[in-house]
Amino acid sequence: MTRHSHFSFQRLLGIIVKEFTQMRRDRLTFAMMLGIPLLQLTLFGYAINADPRHLPAAVLLADQGPQGRTLLQAMKNSTYFDFVRQVSTETEAHNLLARGQVQFVVNIPENFSRDLLRGDRPALLVEADATDPAATGNALGQLNAIFSAALLNDLKGPLESLAATDGPIDLRVHALYNPEVITQYNIVPGLMGVILTMTMIMITGLAITRERERGTMENLLSMPTRPSEVLIGKIVPYIFVGYIQVGVILVASYFLFHVPMQGSILLLLLVALVFIAANLAMGITFSTIAKNQLQAMQMTFFAFLPSILLSGFMFPFRGMPPWAQLIGEVFPLTHFLRIVRGILLKGNTSVEVMNQLWQIALFAVVAMAIGIKRYRQTLD
């Protein structure tokens, strides 16, 4: 068997210094490492809204009475609906929906007010373009509440019996941790995980393939370096990069998006170390498998897409079928999202965090072991 030499800290240091120097010289990569978080923060942070308002609606109003107008006014006041068109036929209304010019058509039939006052429970039809359920869901969910509240004023005195009753249960809902349901509070901390996943895997994915493509691998292999020295040496510099990204995102979260920070930032920084290491280990493992830089890039996206889709960043984790949740549980991002949202919004402490953290750590160890095993010490 091959006689193994000891692990050398001097060699490790040498590789770290070399990687740092090369990173510093590679302006494009360096800019990308800072540019990606800023760009994504701006895009996702400012552009994404899971509670869309001011949706265009058309109205088909055949009723002459005041109650129909009251309801329309109430819908408008809710800020979910903007009435952009008044149409006179159903065909016209359907055309607008089909062309995507309006999201809703509100159809108030003839004699609506009269029938309402008579207690005939007249129909009010709201047609929605539900091709994107997320866009219409919240607005439709609010309708009952909007209408009940609006009619309270009109249905006074003798008409009071027509108003919606309170129902048999006194229902109370407390939306904890994010009472105003501000999307950014969920998205921005989540972005920390997404950005780290993407950049960390990609950067280290290129690390070894680049040496191979440039022909420097032959030189490196002809020297008495050990696989663990090379791989760890290539990971360490990017931990610093990861922390720069974490810093940028935390500052932006606090000052731009006013994300609450209930828990310990120090704890979050410690957790981030494990998470960053897990992603770097995954990237370095890709790097040992890929034949060139292009393949390494492709593998990065192959891993990145499922983790962004199945981790609960984009879609609710609990909405996924069990098999998808099972896949999601494998990705470090899934656990990191729970941790970072837990710490920032819920004020979680190390007790709650540990539950997720060991799974990230396990992933890191396994990925690193595969990487070291796959790293070839010869050119064979």
Binding site: M1, T2, R3, H4, S5, S8, Q10, R11, L13, G14, V17, K18, T21, Q22, R25, D26, R214, G215, T216, E218, N219, L221, S222, M223, P224, T225, T378, L379, D380
Partner: protein, 309 residues
């Protein structure tokens, strides 16, 4: 290491790629302080052989020692005492001269690292330019940097793979002078090359083609092994004469050398018979000792025939 001691002593070194033997049972002995030239056409297995010696490739078969370490099992120990200069410049072009040397020094865990780096830069004659990026150096300087970097850990054996490819004649001469100076101090070299003048500057040579070692020894021994007889002919209309000669049986090569034509074959009698019809005025025929190049071209032709069979 004493002079005469075997630095490299390997037998039956074999490497297959896709079922084809790229290096086919090559035996090689190199003594301490020797400059050993390794010649052969492109793709003949020279680089593969060097890579097997320094543990960059695993040999499929073979045994022996390199610097006293087992060539198959102790490649890590061998790496520590060998300097390997790759055919293509393989240092980091986005690192400076100093950073490259410092990196190499760290990889070999040198005790007096800074001092070693400073001395290397001075030896290179690059003091004052040490901050320059390696990628900005010219071919000749890259080669010198690579050699210096290979020497920084005081190896006992240097494996140089076509070190002078793409380097101008002046730099090549300087390079060989340095090699001879270092060999005089006891360093051993195994150098692959295509150039005949470089081959003649080696103490001993080996010729490899299609993975097989065809001849080895000193320059004279190699020429002797090929057993070539060569005639030089001068006179008018040599290109025409060369064509006529090549068409005849018994002549292996007819190559123009300046104002003369060298005609050779390993069968002296057949050669004499073949040239007999042309041995008259205005041609001036003279029997000359065969050169190294004649010998190598003959070896290459013969091995090509063997390979085609």
């Amino acid at each position: 290491m004493k002079n005469g001691e075997l630095i490299v002593d390997v037998r039956g070194m074999t490497k297959h790629y896709d079922g084809r033997a790229v290096v086919d049972h090559v035996d090689l002995q190199v003594r301490a302080g020797e400059i050993y030239g390794f010649l052969g056409p492109n793709g003949s297995g020279k680089t593969t052989f060097l890579r097997m010696l320094c543990g960059l490739l695993r040999a499929d078969e073979g045994s022996g020692t390199c610097l006293g370490h087992d060539v198959i099992r102790e490649s890590e120990a061998i790496k520590r005492e060998v300097g390997y200069m790759t055919q293509r410049f393989s240092f980091w072009e986005d690192l400076s001269i100093e950073e490259n040397l410092d990196f190499v020094a760290r990889m070999y865990e040198l005790k007096k690292r800074r001092q070693a780096v400073r001395e290397s830069i001075e030896q290179l004659g690059l003091a004052g330019r040490e901050k320059q990026l390696a990628g900005q150096l010219s071919g000749g300087w890259k080669q010198r940097l690579a050699l210096t970097a290979c020497l920084i850990h005081n190896p006992k054996l240097l494996l140089l793979d076509e070190p002078t490819a793409g380097v101008d004649p002046k730099a090549r001469r300087d390079f060989w002078e340095q090699i001879h100076r270092l060999a005089a101090k006891g360093l051993t070299f195994l150098i692959t090359t295509h150039y005949m003048d470089e081959a003649e500057r080696c103490h001993r040579l080996a010729y490899i083609a299609y993975g097989k070692l065809l001849a080895h020894g000193t320059v004279d021994e190699v020429i002797g092994q090929v057993g070539l007889t060569t005639w030089s002919v001068s006179g008018p209309g040599l290109p025409h004469l060369a064509e006529e000669l090549r068409a005849r049986q018994g002549i292996q090569q007819a190559v123009a050398f300046g104002n003369a034509l060298h005609v050779s074959s390993d069968d002296a009698a057949a050669l004499e018979q073949a040239i007999a019809p042309f041995r008259h005025a205005p041609y001036d025929w003279r029997k000359i000792p065969s050169g190294l190049e004649d010998a190598f071209i003959s070896l290459m032709e013969v091995s090509k025939d063997n390979f085609a069979k």
